[in-house]
Symmetry: C2
Subunit: 308 residues, 2 copies
């Protein structure tokens, strides 16, 4: 079985949406990536850090899905990273209410020996220096390195972000971030510029408007599944990245054709994530549901026009 190494936050989230609010619940990029990737036949491990306040039951939820958690450091007396946000009525934008870095402030990732030769490395959104440190610990060149990042690092760690970008194969960012990073409004032009910064594949996430995959002149588009109700978008981007990297790790095929399938799987899994608060839906999700929804994605996008 191929190995997938995931680095990212394991955290507490408190979320307010028009539909309700939560106390501190399980969150974090690596959590969503790990849960999403666990739907594929891969050996996966999370590298992260939590405080002593982090419940064992949350860690158990991850190990129960065969995710190796030996790389999740528990800092004695430390407090877990906490994020709180409030979504606007359209659920497309949100205000951050609280960000407490806590143990994340001094996070030194330690890749478990067994995962130093992982086939796929999924670098979840974190300081670029932490992402670089993970790559530095690899003893064999991974078949694919996927980078997720955000506008925050473009604002305050741009040089380091450029360093890590030179060392990855795929970058996943949202449309506004692609525009900020490239200085181009057109996403086609933005992707072309981002290619020159390192990543051979550029995935631009547009939330409810789907995701674009670029490799040079080739473009593929995966829609988001139109849903009756989006309940909580938290973690959707990470779930997308988990589906993408989990599928690639399982299939071990990094052709453009297979990347297309990977972003369809990413969109598929993300469409479940938003149906309930936090990780709730991902925790009760069955493989059969994922396959059924794949059929929906087919019906949604496949057509058959005969050319004259």
């Amino acid at each position: 079985m191929n190995k997938l190494l995931i680095v990212g936050t394991v955290a507490f989230d408190a979320i307010e949406t028009p539909f309700g609010k939560t106390d501190k619940i399980l969150g974090g990029a690596a959590t969503f990536i790990g849960l999403s990737a666990s739907f594929f036949n891969v050996k996966s491990a999370i590298v992260s850090v939590v405080g002593e306040d982090f419940p064992q039951e949350y860690l158990d939820l991850l190990s129960d899905r065969d995710i190796d958690i030996s790389g999740i450091e528990i800092v004695k007396g430390g407090k877990t990273f906490f994020w709180s946000g409030r979504y606007h009525n359209d659920l497309n934008s949100r205000d951050t209410l609280v960000t407490e870095l806590n143990v994340l402030a001094d996070f030194q990732p330690k890749v478990p020996v067994e995962y130093k030769d992982s086939d796929v490395v999924m670098l979840g959104n974190l300081h670029p220096m932490v992402q670089i440190s993970v790559l530095d610990q690899m003893t064999a060149k991974p078949k694919l390195v996927v980078l997720d990042t955000m506008n925050f690092w473009m604002d305050c760690a741009l040089a380091e972000l450029h360093e890590v970008m030179k060392r990855v194969d795929v970058i996943t960012i949202n449309d506004e971030e692609a525009r900020q990073l490239s200085g181009e409004y057109s996403l086609v032009k933005a992707a072309a510029k981002i290619h020159t910064m390192g990543p051979k594949y550029v995935v631009i996430k547009k939330g409810e408007h789907g995701a674009l995959l670029f490799q040079g002149k080739e473009i593929f588009f995966a829609p988001a599944l139109p849903l009756e109700e989006v309940f909580d978008p938290t973690g959707a981007g990470d779930t997308f990245a988990g589906g993408f990297s989990g599928f690639i790790a399982q299939s071990e095929n990094i052709s453009f054709g297979n990347m297309k399938n990977a972003i369809i799987y990413g969109s598929n899994l993300a469409s479940f994530c938003v149906e309930k608060f936090g990780t709730e839906r991902m925790l009760d999700l069955e493989k059969e549901e994922v396959y059924d929804r794949l059929k929906q994605f087919r019906e949604l996008t496949q057509f058959d026009i005969e050319l004259e």
Copy 2:
């Protein structure tokens, strides 16, 4: 050959985009619909009204494409409908600078006898009473009636809009209009409500984010082609409607599967429209280019995942 009847404005537009501005040029919903539909093997006619100031060369551009213009009334001493708008930097929004109804204010549409039994009727954006008047003149029930409308009529002629909606098969509106008309934020819920108002098929246009086709529980999505540069979005929605209705009229097949093809053709033709100012690109467009772009749409959307 099947007959397509088009009703809508034939007008002067003056457009400002970040890339430049035009004087009064050829515009109007029926113009864009007609030019777009002319790529299909259909007999088409436009019902509209212009003033004596409308240049013969503009009318010739339409007849040169085998569009029957006998239903375009020329009002002696009248002035042609004029619209002027300025697009914002992102080209997704615009301000209307001038709207001079002129001869449109008293427009009484007259359907040419030969087109009173048209197979497909495309009701371009106009006062709902004008649209109803066209339907009242039909001597045979059309196989398909397509309605385009806009938020303006929801604000000031809602009852009449509901009347015409009861008599059409397909409605095409944009996402914000669908939300306004239905009172639902979710487009899935909005489409379901709009179904109950009459149209069996609901097409929701999302501009650069593509278009959704709903029939009951069935959903199809056509992306907009990602372009390096959008030059002028004027007429893109009408060009989409022209491609949609022109293809349906040609193929005479109103199954959901064929509707999918129709909205792919609509997106295809619209992707050309935005490449130059006004009708410029549609006037120099070759059929071969449309077929080539169809291949691009395939590559953009088609995937092949084997289910386990």
